[in-house]
């Protein structure tokens, strides 16, 4: 089916990956920079999905203006956690509260263990980790903020001293959605379909095809972090 929406392809890829033995998955994201229009729908969708407070935005877009009049254009670089093969943020944690999941390569934080020292925030070369200072958009909380964050398949209600307040938070590729066979919120919402998620270990998947066929780069590859987010030029 040549005219199939890429979102359907992604869903099929995700379902196929979930049917594989658990330890053979490698979730990656491919972002097609030619398609990105900088609408920041991903930023909003992420905040809605994960109920993140002010100052925490797992997905965001770097916006640049290049060139001089009359040859000016805006350039967009959507960024999120790269779920590195060698994540620099993981070994520094003094309590082992963050790790790279062996089964699918997603870097997670255990809010119940994290002591909030913020060492990992300084160690991440991509600025992908955020500290939950306990700020809120509204005091008292509005209806939306009173809802719990569904991260890690649990319900995290925000209150003054309870986790995840006082913890480091980060993008999980919407793990709670992936296990249900759904794509991450930012992928679902991306209007020009610039974001594609899938299993790189599956040669049939859309992400494998794109990484094989298209010219791509990853951020700060010189640091040896081996990011799992690929940018197509």
């Amino acid at each position: 089916m040549p005219d199939q929406d890429v979102l359907t392809t992604i869903r099929n890829d995700v379902k196929r990956a979930l049917n594989k033995p658990a330890n053979q998955r490698h979730w990656v994201m491919v972002i097609n920079l030619q398609r990105c229009v900088g609408c920041e729908a991903c930023t909003i969708a992420c905040k809605q999905e994960n109920h993140t407070p002010p100052g925490v935005a797992y997905a965001k877009v770097i916006k640049e203006e290049v060139g001089e009049y009359p040859h000016v254009r805006r350039r967009f670089l959507p960024i999120l956690c790269n779920h590195c093969e060698n994540p620099p943020c993981v070994p520094v944690c003094p309590v082992g509260a963050t790790w790279k999941r062996k089964e699918d390569g997603i870097v997670v934080v255990d809010y119940t263990i994290c002591i909030g020292c913020r060492y990992c925030v300084t160690a991440c070369p991509y600025g992908a980790r955020y500290f939950d200072f306990g700020d809120n958009y509204y005091e008292p909380l509005n209806e939306f903020e009173q809802q719990a964050s569904p991260e890690y398949g649990r319900r995290w209600l925000r209150s003054k001293r309870e986790s995840p307040v006082g913890n480091v938070r980060k993008c999980t590729f919407c793990l709670h959605r992936l296990v249900r066979g759904e794509e991450p919120a930012c992928v679902q919402t991306c209007m020009p379909r610039a974001r594609i998620v899938g299993d790189l270990n599956d040669p049939e998947s859309e992400v494998s095809r794109l990484v094989d066929e298209r010219r791509h780069f990853r951020l700060k590859e010189e640091l040896g972090t081996e990011p799992s987010v690929y940018y197509i030029l």
Partner: protein
């Protein structure tokens, strides 16, 4: 004599009132921080470490440096410094506890601090460091106790508070024999020898916490942990120099002047070595031209807090003390050498601030700082009764400090130097009053005085302590919040109180343990304003 005694009572009273006020407000601020969480700080996800981490490495540095100075005596046998050995160890203990207090304050979940010992993470430098701090603390306590043991037993004979403390601390030891003293000395030497690598691991490791972060080119150099150790030696030595020169019970003797001048030369040498290493780092970093690295130096030297580098780190922390130590005119005067020590102790704080904050404020990628609004300020404000309480405390503190500083006005030193001190004193009083006004809520007045714009200020009164422009929307700009400052000064005040109490109650400056050596004569007539005289 009566006037002097009364003056001393006044000085001691002002000293205690000032410290207790700051400590009390500090405890209050820490309580607020514990209840409210880290939202009362001005930290952001962009600059996640700030004032507290800077103070943490500052105090760990003071501790390690002070301890390493003590090993000069007990391991390398430089017995001419023997009279400062116990002070060095005591300073090391107090500074270590203060440093740990700061890193504790900095945790997002205070109640989980102990899990560091349960949830193992052998790859983390920070976890290794926590263990080294413990081991190091045990070595310090054991060594100091062994050194004081016989004096504690002797002091326990007497009456009063000192004797009571001595009885409690002697832990039932009664052996005053020469063999036991010999054993003590051996044990101290062994402990000191073990302590050297541990202390290097303690502060070199603290440097490694930063140096292993490859995301920040400014930290990510092999020289970084070494600079930590050398600057620790400079700052620890400087603190000892300051205490020995200005507050020693032996003040006024020729021996004392000699000791202080030799100590000052060592501190000066460490400071020079520190400068050499710093220059090397800077030249290599700037030559390489890696954007993040150069940007960090630009922030340090020409950023919003440029004066921390030029006046703090370079002026107060290097040039002024070096001049005081190596100029003939001042290099033999214990007073000026003590001032040099104090300058370094304050100036190294600038070094520590510049280690932590500027590298974090440089964006990791171009545009990442503006991609999403990460800038935030503490919305906490003292209001109503608590504001009045704070204003009262500030007033009490300022009055006490003015009383203390005005004593400096009358310090008995010759000619032009007296006017330098008077000028500095007047300046300090002026700054103090201005800062008191700012803290007490008169920001618009003082900012108008200095033409500082508060146009974009959030609702908080005075998120900025030392002036500068408030940039609420810029996440790369970090200036500590009021609670951060108040809790920090509180911890520092408690540490200074502990040092004073220790020097009052513990036999830290008794005659040398070598029984064969003659006890030096003491001249007590020349002391100014030490607490001993009033008791």
């Amino acid at each position: 004599m009566t006037t002097r005694l009364e003056t001393n009572k006044l000085v001691l009273g002002a000293y205690l009132v000032a410290l207790l006020t700051v400590a009390g407000v500090g405890v209050w601020a820490i309580a607020i921080r514990a209840v409210e969480g880290l939202r009362v700080t001005n930290l952001t996800s962009h600059v996640p470490w700030g004032l507290w981490v800077a103070f943490y490495i500052y105090f760990i540095g003071l501790s390690a440096g002070s301890f390493l100075m003590s090993t000069l005596i007990y391991v390398f046998g430089m017995s001419r410094f023997e009279s400062i050995g116990r002070s060095a160890l005591f300073v090391a203990i107090v500074a270590l506890v203060a440093g740990l207090a700061f890193i504790f304050l900095d945790l997002g979940h205070l109640e989980r601090f102990w899990t560091v010992f349960v949830n193992r993470s052998p790859t983390s430098v920070l976890e290794w460091e926590i263990h080294f701090y413990l081991l190091y603390g045990i070595i310090l306590l054991a060594e100091l106790w062994l050194l004081m043991r016989r004096d504690l037993i002797r002091a326990a004979e007497g009456e009063g508070l000192r004797a009571l403390v001595a009885r409690l601390l002697s832990f039932g030891s009664h052996d005053l024999s020469e063999e036991s003293a010999h054993l003590d000395r051996r044990a101290v030497k062994i402990l000191g020898t073990i302590g050297i690598p541990v202390a290097i691991a303690v502060h070199g490791g603290t440097g490694a916490i930063f140096a292993v972060v490859k995301a920040r080119p400014y930290w990510y150099t092999g020289l970084f942990p070494i600079i930590f150790i050398v600057s620790a030696l400079a700052s620890g030595g400087a603190l000892l120099l300051c205490i020995t020169a200005l507050f020693s019970r032996r003040k006024g003797t020729a021996d004392h002047a000699e000791l202080v001048s030799q100590l000052a030369k060592i501190v000066g040498a460490f400071l020079l070595l520190d400068l050499v290493l710093l220059t090397s780092e800077m030249l290599v970093g700037l030559y390489g031209g890696v954007p993040d690295h150069v940007a960090t130096y630009r922030v340090i030297m020409f950023g919003p807090f440029w004066y921390v580098f030029w006046f703090g780190q370079m002026g107060l922390g290097a040039l002024v003390p070096l001049a005081l130590i190596f100029l003939k005119r001042t290099g033999n005067s214990p007073f000026w050498l003590g001032v040099a020590g104090a300058c370094i102790v304050v100036g190294i704080l600038g070094v520590r601030l510049n280690i932590v904050i500027p590298p974090l404020s440089v964006p990791l990628m171009p545009g990442i700082d503006t991609a999403y609004p990460l800038g935030r300020f503490s919305t906490f404000a003292f209001t109503g009764f608590s504001l009045h309480l704070l204003q009262g405390a500030v007033a009490v503190f300022v009055v006490a400090m003015v009383v203390l500083l005005s004593q400096l006005w009358r310090i008995p030193i010759p000619s032009w130097e007296r006017w330098v001190v008077r000028l500095a004193t007047t300046g300090a009083i002026f700054v103090l009053v201005i800062m008191g006004l700012r803290l007490a809520g008169f920001a618009p007045t003082t900012s108008a005085l200095f033409d500082i714009s508060l146009a974009t200020a959030p609702t908080t009164p005075l998120p900025l302590f030392f002036g500068g422009q408030i940039k609420a929307q810029d996440p790369t700009f970090y200036s500590p919040s009021m609670i951060e400052w108040l809790s920090s000064t509180g911890v520092i005040a408690v540490a200074i109180l502990a040092l004073s109490l220790g020097r009052w109650l513990l036999p830290l400056e008794e005659p040398p343990v070598h029984p064969a050596r003659a006890v030096r004569p003491r001249f007590d007539s020349d002391r100014i304003g030490t607490e001993r005289e009033t008791s």
